[in-house]
């Protein structure tokens, strides 16, 4: 309920939201948890395993219990922490993991079966009968497991990623962080101050401390104002640093739009994932209070003492009418003082310590412990033992404090291990765990406000001093009370003493793990699931370690910790994957003819990052094959036009260009005459084929190489490697000109005739023999012409600067159509090349050698080249290797399929009998037959043999004849014609 006169929210700014369909009023800016508590709602969720009723435990991102689902449909957001979600008008929230309702959850029968569901019980049963795991046990377990649910729908919520750079990153804007930022900001360095809260100030907002004689929250507000006025300081609220990575890189998640109704800001990103690069960083993440494991310490209404103060002081909400406090340290007593000052009844403070004084007018029970609690859906009473007896106390809110754990998490992200501090009874960061990062404030174990301010200032000053900047350390006055604590991890008594609230791990589970020899802390964690819930054990891990240490007779330091790993808080996949939904996963590359192709209704298919036309449908054609056959006919009978700009084109110049090409190609290019083109085969250094293509010699020291579309990037990287690293003695320069030139194949018996309709100067067979190249002019525009062929026909490729590409394509296609030809796409291109036995990456798939594809004779023995030595390995020259052949279905009409394996006739289609496989197939309208390319053991020796192609998964078995891969025009008369 609201407490008059407390809190920093404005009563006038009322907003309405629903929780499980019930409408509530809250105040703008406050968290859902605060609003629910203000409305007297205590039961907010069900635990993971036993479906126990649970309430709000904390007031921050470490919350294990109060997880809710926001929204419905594609926008449905599960597992949102009520303690960080800011409410707004129209917010709809539902509880999770309960059916049919939060109050009456059928799955809570699990809790009755709890004696049989001990840690790891599932490893010991559900094994019989064997088939029941998938069919019965697992589906039941899976249905019961999980917390929230995704809707399964896709939506278009916007997520964003961004980069930021600074001199000093300050993580956390409590007293230490604000002081660090003031210190560094005033010194003039570039500062980023990030805090996960909507408002900066940290514990100063939740306590009643004074700083410099001023209310702590007011001091924080003034500090933020001063920082906001500095150009060199960037304030990032709602931003949690999620991970520390190498060389000063930090990940961060900013909750940009979750506090705003989407309808009010449709373009606003929900979240932004930041990559922050900082020369130095100061971790001022504070500390997290930890619970005490006493019997039934999980009832709604039992929460952290610091959370009670947060709700009271910051949000003006009292989580109970009669509050009790159970603690082992001085700090928690301030809860009682603050409550009493606000007019809330304190029914008692139970302190485990014997010699402790009350800080105010409240009943204090020393040497005390809470040994039992009552209340099914909300706390009703507690039973305590203390120095002089036992008693039951009526209470609807128990504030507990087992001490504070410095927030060491980020310091462990690079495999650093925290150090046990016997005075603080907690782990503190180990120096140097993250290069460039220092720790200040409570995160470093400085538990007083003054200690935090001082260490923040000093930490920042030291960090900027590393950067050569002097900062003045000027710290205001504040409380500097000692932090007194006595160890108390668990309390004996009947009933389960919960450690990991969400995963339902209790003290006995840890002891059972130890009993079964899961003594290593990692074994214990994995066996019991302690610390593996959404809060990753933020509040529970240290107590669990203490219990394990006790159970195994070791100290806590020897027991060690599990490893904290990124992210510090859960991060949505949509945020880290922002920009990729739909088509953003990779850039799209469009050819200059793209719109002309789509304008002709050509289906576009991906070729690496490029899009290429599959075929150009003509009126009346019902299947792609009809179109493809027609387009093949263009090239075989008339003329076809195809955009080949996607092939990589690399300009190579320099006095040693020829020598360089001789080194990177298996065959020789220094002997190529100017204005001539040669096919080249490129090997990887391991002796296998990397790529192939043609290279033209444009001048004595000037070549242009083409690569396949698929390997263009790889080849460019390879050439740069060879030139820079292996042959710096060769003077050669490269530049990719793929983008500069739009290039089109013009192929078919009428190709020259077509070209002569567009070229300014006609070409002749004598001047332009097969494999020649040179400059041409089209409408006064200088282009390049190559007489090369990937179809086996008389063909050319013509290139113009890309700005003219669209125009030239339309022109060429129009001319082709006037000559009974037209545009052709990838399907026809594939048929044309298979008919000629030309290979693509379907054949040179990374496991084949020049020997395998019948090109070993091209590998020059007269020079060294990349891949030569390795290609001579005995295993790569074995005749029994699978080698390239053609395959033709014996009756011509049976369709053969790529991916089928080949067997000797009569042999069983099993691995031991495998003779090879088919890589490419097509219906050849030219040969009126189904044909293909493939690899067969010792293939070249087996021409004429019949083999059986078995494609189990497509249900196709066809007898094929092994033949030469060159099906069409084996003498090459047409290409030269």
């Amino acid at each position: 309920m609201r407490v008059a006169g407390k809190g920093h929210t404005d009563a006038a700014e009322t907003v309405h939201f629903t929780f499980d369909g019930q409408s509530y009023a809250g105040r703008k800016g406050e968290t859902l948890a605060a609003a629910l508590l203000a409305n007297g709602v205590k039961l907010v969720g069900r635990s993971f395993k036993y479906h126990r009723p649970r309430g709000i435990v904390t007031a921050g991102s470490e919350e294990p219990n109060a997880l809710v689902t926001v929204g419905t449909g594609g926008g449905q957001d599960p597992n949102v922490r009520a303690t960080t979600l800011e409410i707004y008008d129209g917010l709809e929230v539902r509880s999770q993991n309960a059916w049919p309702s939060l109050k009456y959850d059928m799955m809570s029968v699990n809790d009755l079966a709890a004696p049989f569901l001990s840690a790891g019980f599932y490893y010991k049963t559900f094994m019989w009968p064997k088939a029941f795991w998938e069919s019965l046990y697992e589906p039941v377990i899976r249905k019961a497991a999980g917390l929230g649910a995704l809707s399964g729908d896709i939506n278009d919520d916007i997520y964003e990623k961004a980069f930021a750079h600074c001199d000093l990153l300050i993580i956390g804007a409590g007293p230490a962080g604000l002081m660090a930022a003031l210190t560094a900001g005033r010194a003039g360095v570039d500062v980023i101050l990030a805090d996960e809260d909507s408002q900066m100030g940290g514990r100063l907002l939740a306590e009643t401390f004074t700083v410099d004689g001023q209310d702590g929250a007011d001091w924080a507000a003034d500090a933020v104002s001063e920082l906001a006025a500095m150009d060199n300081v960037r304030l990032m609220t709602r931003t949690t640093i999620t991970g520390a990575y190498d060389q000063g890189t930090y990940g961060a998640i900013e909750q940009v739009g979750h506090h705003v109704a989407r309808a009010d800001a449709p373009d606003l990103p929900r979240e932004c994932f930041w990559r922050i690069v900082a020369k130095r960083a100061v971790l001022c993440a504070g500390a997290l209070e930890r619970p005490i494991a006493f019997p039934n310490n999980d009832r709604p209404g039992i929460m952290m003492a610091s959370a009670v103060r947060s709700y009271l002081n910051r949000w003006g909400v009292a989580p109970g009418k009669a509050v009790t406090i159970f603690a082992n340290n001085d700090d928690a007593h301030r809860t009682a003082v603050d409550l009493i000052a606000a007019g809330v009844k304190v029914a008692g403070v139970i302190d485990v310590r014997a010699d402790v004084q009350a800080m105010g007018d409240y009943p204090l029970y020393t040497s005390g412990a809470v040994t039992a609690t009552k209340g099914r859906l909300a706390l009703e009473s507690i039973t305590i033992t203390h120095a002089v007896g036992t008693r039951e106390i009526r209470t609807d809110c128990l504030a507990m404090s087992g001490g504070w754990n410095p927030t060491v998490h980020l310091t462990c992200h690079m495999n650093g291990r925290p150090t046990w501090d016997e005075t603080l009874l907690s782990f503190v960061p180990t120096d140097g765990s993250i290069p460039g990062l220092t720790v200040a404030g409570a995160a470093a174990g400085h538990m007083s406000t003054l200690g935090a301010l001082q260490s923040g200032a000093k930490g920042a000053a030291a960090a900027v001093a590393d950067l050569g900047v002097t900062a003045k350390v000027d710290v205001p006055t504040a409380e500097d009370d000692p932090y007194r604590i006595e160890a108390c991890w668990q309390v004996d008594g009947k009933g389960r003493k919960w450690l990991d609230f969400q995963n339902d791990v209790h003290v006995k589970d840890i002891k059972l793990a130890a009993q079964e020899n899961f003594r290593s802390v990692e074994h214990m964690k994995r066996y019991t699931t302690q610390g593996m819930a959404t809060d990753q054990g933020k509040s529970s891990n240290v107590a669990a370690l203490a219990v394990l240490a006790d159970a195994t007779g070791r100290g806590i330091p020897e027991t060690g910790t599990t490893t904290f790993r990124p992210p510090y808080v859960p991060v949505s996949i949509a945020a880290m994957g922002a920009g990729s939904q739909g088509h953003g996963f990779a850039p799209k590359r469009l050819t200059t003819s793209h719109h002309a192709s789509t304008g002709r209704s050509a289906p576009m298919i991906e070729a690496g990052l490029w899009y290429r036309p599959s075929y150009f449908p003509a009126p009346g054609e019902k299947t792609w094959l009809e179109s493809c056959n027609r387009e093949v006919g263009y090239v075989r009978d008339a003329v076809g036009v195809c955009d080949v700009s996607t092939l990589g084109k690399i300009d190579i110049q320099g006095p040693d260009a020829a020598a360089f090409l001789d080194f990177v190609y298996a065959n020789t290019f220094s002997t190529l005459r100017e204005n001539r083109v040669r096919y080249g085969l490129m090997l990887r250094e391991d002796g296998h084929v990397m790529d192939d293509g043609t290279t033209a010699r444009l001048g004595a020291d000037h070549y242009v190489m083409t690569t396949t579309t698929a390997a263009a990037g790889q080849v460019m990287t390879h050439l740069e490697w060879v030139a820079q690293a292996l042959r710096p003695d060769l003077d050669v320069r490269f530049a990719s000109v793929t983008e500069q030139w739009a290039q089109f194949a013009v192929a078919g018996p009428r190709s020259r005739a077509l070209l002569n309709t567009v070229l300014d100067d006609p070409i002749t067979g004598e001047d332009w023999p097969f494999m020649s190249c040179g400059a041409v002019s089209i409408g006064g525009i200088e282009g390049r012409l190559f007489r090369i062929s990937f179809s086996g026909e008389h063909a050319y490729e013509i290139a113009v600067p890309s700005r003219y590409g669209a125009s030239l394509f339309r022109l060429l296609v129009a001319q082709a159509e006037a000559m009974e030809g037209g545009a052709y796409g990838m399907e026809a291109l594939n048929v044309l090349r298979i008919e000629k036995g030309f290979i693509t990456h379907a054949e040179i798939h990374g496991r084949v050698t020049a020997f395998d594809i019948g090109m070993d004779r091209m590998v020059s023995r007269k020079k060294d080249c990349i891949g030569f030595a390795a290609s001579r390995r005995e295993g790569l020259l074995d005749g029994q290797r699978e080698r390239l052949v053609g395959l033709r279905s014996v009756n011509g009409t049976d369709k053969i399929t790529a991916g089928a394996h080949l067997f000797v006739e009569g042999a069983d289609a099993v691995s031991d009998n495998d003779q090879g496989y088919i890589t490419s197939v097509c219906w050849s309208p030219t040969l009126d037959s189904h044909i293909g390319l493939g690899f067969v053991k010792d293939g070249p020796s087996r021409l004429g043999e019949h083999v059986v192609a078995v494609d189990h998964v497509r249900g196709v078995t066809v007898t094929c004849e092994v033949c030469s891969p060159v099906f069409f025009d084996p003498d090459g008369g047409r290409v030269r014609g």
Binding site: Y245, D246, Q247, E720, W721, Q724, D864, A869, A870
Partner: protein
């Protein structure tokens, strides 16, 4: 992770392509013994500690560089361009 490109200065790891141990710079002669080539192509010291390795600033200037880096801590000790251009 960030790497110091000798040309461009310190840049994000995403701009770089990794090849492997810097021994790839010491390419054997084409007619060297099979064992020598086996060592070159396949076998590695693979140290847990400071190594010299090859990176390519593919998303930047295009330089191939040798980075000295610790494979345990990921600390980077320096970087230099491969090879020596003809003077």
């Amino acid at each position: 992770m960030r790497l110091p490109c000798p040309i461009c200065g310190e840049r994000d790891r995403r701009e770089f392509y990794y090849k492997g141990d810097a021994l790839a710079l010491d390419r054997p002669a084409g007619d060297a013994d099979g064992g020598v080539w086996d060592d070159y192509l396949h076998n590695r010291d693979n140290l847990a500690g400071v190594v010299r390795e090859l990176w390519h600033h593919a998303g930047g200037c295009g330089a191939w560089i040798v980075v000295t880096r610790d494979t345990v801590t990921h600390e980077v000790h320096g970087a230099e361009r491969v090879g020596k251009a003809k003077a």
